[in-house]
Amino acid sequence: MSEPLLSIENLQVKFSRSEDEVYAVNNVSFAIHENEALGIVGESGSGKSVTLMSSIGLIRENGKITSGKALFQGKDLLKLRPKQLEDIRGRDIGVVFQDPMTSLNPIMRIGDQIMEAMLTHQYASRKEAFNRTIQLLQEIGIPDPHSRFKSYPHEFSGGMRQRIMIAIALACEPQLLIADEPTTALDVTVQMQILALLQDLRRKRGMSVVIVTHDFGLATNFCDKIIVMYGGQIMEAASTDMFIREATHPYSIGLKASIIEVGNKGKEISPIPGAARTLTEAPTGCPFAERCPFKTERCLNEVPELRAFGIDHYIACHHAEEVASYAV
Amino acid sequence: MASTVAETHSEVVLKKKKVRRSEFYQGWKRFKKHRLAVIGLVWVVIFCLAGIIGPWVAPHDYRTGDFLAINQAPSWKYIFGTDNVGHDMFSQILYSIRSALIIAIGATLVSFIIGVILGLWAGLRGGIADMIIMRAVDFMMTLPGFLFALILVIMLGRGYLSLILAIGIPGWAGYARLIRSLVLSMRDSEMVEAARALGASQAHIARRYMLPNVIGSMGVALAFGIPGDLIQIAGLSIFGMGLQPPIPSFGNMIAQAGENILGFPWLLYFPAGIFAITLLSFLFVADGLQEAFSPKGGN
């Protein structure tokens, strides 16, 4: 396989709070290749967005990357100076955030907000940037782009604002788009439209997309590969097909069982018992152990390594084989 | 059935009191963390004590000056110096503290009482009463209270009570608005609904459930009110509309010092310095209270 576009290696992120520290991301490694759609699935607090945001320098002030690498086109993003990182953000890596209602500058015309991305990176001249903005607005499905160029965010609906966010992220034709819960704040019907738009844009441009979501169904619909995170660690990683057929980690199985699928009539939805906990100490065992039905002594005392478990299938569970035999 | 209702009722009340006490304790703990606020509080206490015992410790009378010792620089006999008719500045300041405190506290209370009455009325009654009162609040807030105070002084005169009223009466609007908003936010809360379901009268609801809950916010408002009124008193004196001389006041002293400041600057140092430090202290205390007792305060 070719060199990956972005590869995260042994990333570790801590947040310091007034009293203690939170171990948000622990020893996470994965890679995304060109033209690939990767879904990172997990509950809130599982460290899924922190992993990506910290690698592009958009981490909160109290967050600290304690070790690891984030290689993007051969450069370690974590070692770049803030200025160099600024050059990459928005030009080579675009980001779409969760809440379109608050993510746009309320007192700046939306056209200017899209143009700003291009002008900042000297991607285009003012005139070119304007033309490209109009074109982008058209492409993302905003009618009458010439007059809407001058509108302010509050004159748009949530779905429309998210489209504008996408236009901002795509303004400089980035190779990688990070979408952090892009549809969570939207109505269900609008969610589908936004996803369809993203899918369409991805195919046309041949860019890679990472979708961070808590919505397992969304990830399986959209992505080629899926990574499941829990407690700041990767639990399982596999291609989507493999995942749907043979998800083996007890947590993944739980996730699958907790969603409603068409055709699953009669099958009961079973929530995973217990609740996710915030780690305030370095993990000493499997983070999911407390809620896991397969838990043994070993799970509490030894952090499971992410290991190969078949073609394109990785898992971090001491008892994967056992679980697999059980599931089949 | 009836007994269970009564029990629930008393339980609600008990719980409430417990919460309040610990809230004040928590607030005090937060307040103590602000060093400037604590320093301010110490000064405010000293200032108030000076106001209370001033007349007994003042070495000289404020009315009679020593004509043989006019415009003297600070010395052992006159530690803050003397003014152009031989008044001992130290004694003058002690008396000024007293008059300033009497008027500031009195005026703040007057504003507060009017504000509470009108605010409660507007909040509880609603309708036309509310509309009229809020219009009046808007009107009062558009213009500085000092303007009204000036006109009131003309009408009422320049005695203690007149000044208390002249400064106090125009200051009600802020308190009324605060109280009304507190009432409105409380009115629909569960606790009051429960009381209403029990058939408690409106006056009872106001006294028992709303007032205790707003004490924190009102304390902060009052703490900001006193330094504001101190400024107004001095401002009236500067304008020649404050306490009638020979009753000493900070405003008069500061204004007089301004007249012959190049020759006898100590006439300014002490009154202006003490006045400024006092205002600053009150403001630090109010700031500290706000951060300690209002959830939004602080950074």
Binding site: F97, T102, I107, T120, M165 | P265, D287
Partner: protein, 320 residues
């Protein structure tokens, strides 16, 4: 066009408020014991005349009453007075009947307007950058210094600061700046500094809080994600948004600046509206007093209107 409608609506509001102000002042002065409104004061003054020449006494009294409209019923007096004030027909002062109030104002009002606006401009020009520095250097000594100085500026009233500055520039830095008078440009410096101190403090403190809050908001993260550099991000996204939040709070604060001019004029011996007002109030010259109250109120409200208009211009979300 929405803005014209908004302005005209606000002007109507301002006029109603001014009518109220004039009426309230008139009524209060009418009932004040020592005021000239009260014909009894005049009667006492003319008492000796009554014995000597009752006809002349009657004539003088009537002339006095009709000159100030005191022979009409109270409500008519008020209406008449309101009308006169609103049409800028202020009449003559009582202390100095040969002098028209208008001529006094032509001399003094511009002085106060210069002081008030000068200080507002200064407080924004100084306060906003201070607030920005404090916000960006949060919890460093720079921040603490700015916060403390701002609080001190807020706590020390203009008249105390005025006296302190007079002392400073009269004794320590003698001859650098003039400490009294009015006429040369440099004579405006110290008074304007006095008036601005409190506002610089308020502006800086609000700016700091507002900017800290704004910099935490989601759209700042979006700007960072776009790769926008630090300073453009702070200025274009942070400061601009903070200003809109701040303006609403600052508007009323400036009312006190206008009030402060009348104190500062006292101490720097500046012939402005404040001095006219002081003469009027201390000598119970009621037409002059009411007129100065009217003008002071107008200045404050015009200032608030301007703040509202600026707010509407920079914040597109404001519905007029």
């Amino acid at each position: 066009m929405a803005i014209l409608k908004f302005i005209s609506k606000r002007i109507v509001q301002i006029i109603i408020t001014l009518i109220l102000v004039i009426s309230v002042s008139y009524i209060m002065m009418y009932f004040s014991p020592g005021g000239f409104m009260n014909t009894s004061t005049m009667a006492t003054a003319l008492a000796p005349l009554q014995g000597q020449n009752p006809v002349l006494y009657q004539e003088v009294m009537e002339q006095f009453q009709s000159r100030y409209g005191l022979n009409l019923p109270l409500y008519q007096q008020i209406l008449k007075y309101v009308w006169h004030e609103l049409t800028f027909d202020f009449g003559n002062s009582m202390q100095n009947p040969s002098l028209s109030i208008m001529s006094q104002l032509q001399r003094t009002l511009p002085v106060s307007v210069i002081l008030a606006f000068g200080s507002i401009i200064l407080s924004v020009v100084v306060g906003v950058p201070l607030g920005i520095i404090a916000a960006l250097k949060r919890n460093t000594w720079v921040d603490y210094l700015v916060s403390t100085v701002s609080l001190a500026g807020q706590a020390i009233p203009a008249f105390v600061l005025a006296v302190i500055l007079v002392l400073l520039f009269g004794v320590v830095f003698q001859g650098i700046l003039p400490i009294t008078g009015w006429g040369r440009w440099d004579e405006a410096i110290l008074p304007i500094i006095c008036l601005s101190a409190a506002n610089v403090g308020v502006v800086a403190r609000y700016m700091r809080g507002s900017l800290i809050e704004t910099l935490r908001s989601d759209f700042i993260r979006t700007a960072k994600a776009k790769g926008v550099k630090y300073w453009p991000m702070v200025m274009k996204h942070g400061v601009k948004n903070s200003l809109t939040a701040m303006i609403t709070v600052i508007g009323p604060q400036f009312a006190f600046t206008v009030m402060g001019t009348i104190w500062v004029e006292q101490i720097f011996a500046i012939p402005g509206l404040g001095q006219v007002m002081q003469t009027a109030f201390t000598s119970f010259d009621f037409p002059l007093a009411i007129t100065s109250v009217f003008l002071l109120g107008s200045m404050i409200m015009v200032m608030n209107l301007m703040v509202d208009i600026i707010y509407a211009i920079i914040d597109p979300r404001v519905k007029l």
